[in-house]
Amino acid sequence: MIFVKNLHKYFGKLEVLKGIDCHIREKEVVVVIGPSGSGKSTFLRCLNKLEEPTSGEIIVDGIPLNSEVNVNAIRREVGMVFQRFNLFPHMTAIQNIILAQEVVRKTSKAEARKIGLELLDKVGLSDKADEYPDRLSGGQQQRVAIARALAMKPKIMLFDETTSALDPEMVGEVLAVMKDLAREGMTMVVVTHEMGFAREVGDRVIFMDEGIIMEEGEPNEVFAHPKNPRTQAFLSKIL
């Protein structure tokens, strides 16, 4: 579903990604972990070209990521959820979900609203449809953001530290929605510090440090018997 070949990314002179190779299969849940500054968010953001790779090749759903036309075609199929939610503050929850359906998918307003209400129900917020983001808690905003991404009927979902900006008591409600998605067979790439989630939901764990993939494998294996000393050091600090 996603092929990444020898991906490099520089910010000015700083090399953030130093050659990433990776293949993500359909319906796979891949969890990316690693210390901050390891390049994991940059890697994720390259997958829908929010960051322009310096070199390397990315193929998403059979389409190589290069020209601007392709980019919009791919972004439609790849949903993304951000650490800071990024809901549109001048629109209600349901309007947030309707907008791109109407503008990008050309779905009729009535149909887009119907889909939006179903998704709000799915994330447990059917009573918040007409609230503005300011009136919602962080956990609720993040669930609306997930519903907004799902409304585009993406084939792949990218999660960029989606629980890092949340109060602890709200982390669970967002993770629960993500678990449901994983169970339904969504292809997911998840950058997170939630090791419990990685263990329970991940099909594969990728450990990144200093811009390369240091280790990857089945979560139980990586967590129980990390082979790379870096992985061992990282896990011993956080587990």
């Binding site: 929010l50 503008v103 990008v104």
Partner: protein, 225 residues
């Protein structure tokens, strides 16, 4: 001091008319300025080097030279550029509004640019990640939020523009200041006439300030931050 206020009171109907003209000139200039300002702001933020350079040159020129000079320049340059042998009736109004509009376009461009850049990058990233084009993201996500934030500086610009319209007296447009000056000369009562003109300007700028405050409240009600 022996001031004769009768001259000022007698001239109220004329001053009313002149004040209305001042408002009309300002409104015309605002309309032109908003269109130019939005276009120049987008050009300035565009990836296209040529558009960016053009916008910067425009803003530099109109901010960096006196409005008074611009008024004369436009007044004499337009007929030349359009190869007019005779000037149309009331040509000075066209030149005046155009000059003020061109000038305010430069300031409004900077106001819009600041407003657009003040919107968190995450907003356009969210829009783009949903598959929206840059134009769609701008239209539905960025500009509506930016517009709210630029209302106070836009209000300042409108007020400055209204006051600067007094400069149009120099090309014989019979706006408020021009009329006050003419009557002052005819009646030998400059002080009452200029006080009257000042009061007229004050009332009009206050009206704009009130309207801006109202717009700010109305548009800001969903924005608690």
């Amino acid at each position: 001091m022996g001031l004769n206020w009768k001259a000022a009171i007698d001239s109220i109907p004329i001053l009313n008319k002149a004040a209305l003209l001042t408002l009309e000139l300002t409104a015309g200039a605002v309309a032109i300025g908003l269109v130019i300002g939005l276009f120049m702001a987008l050009a300035r933020l565009s990836k296209n080097k040529l558009l960016r350079a053009g916008s910067i040159a425009y803003i530099d020129f109109f901010r960096g030279t006196p409005l008074l000079v611009q008024i004369f320049l436009v007044y004499f340059l337009v007929p030349k550029l359009l190869n007019w042998d005779t000037l149309p009736d009331n040509y000075q109004y066209i030149a005046g509004v155009l000059a003020m509009g061109l000038n305010s376009g430069a300031y409004i461009a900077e106001i819009f640019r600041a407003g657009i850049q003040s919107i968190d990058r995450g907003q356009s990233e969210a829009a783009r990640s949903l598959g929206m084009t840059q134009g769609q993201s701008l239209r539905y996500v960025i500009l509506p939020q930016a517009f709210k934030r630029v209302i106070p500086p836009l209000g300042n610009e409108f007020i400055a523009l209204l006051k600067d319209s007094s400069l149009l007296s120099i090309i014989a447009i019979q706006e408020l200041f021009y009329s006050a000056k003419i009557i002052a000369g005819r009646t030998y009562q400059p002080i009452p006439m200029y006080i009257a003109a000042a009061l007229y300007y004050l009332v009009m700028t206050q009206l704009i300030a009130q309207w801006v405050a109202y717009m700010e409240r109305r548009l800001g009600k969903n924005d608690l931050r």
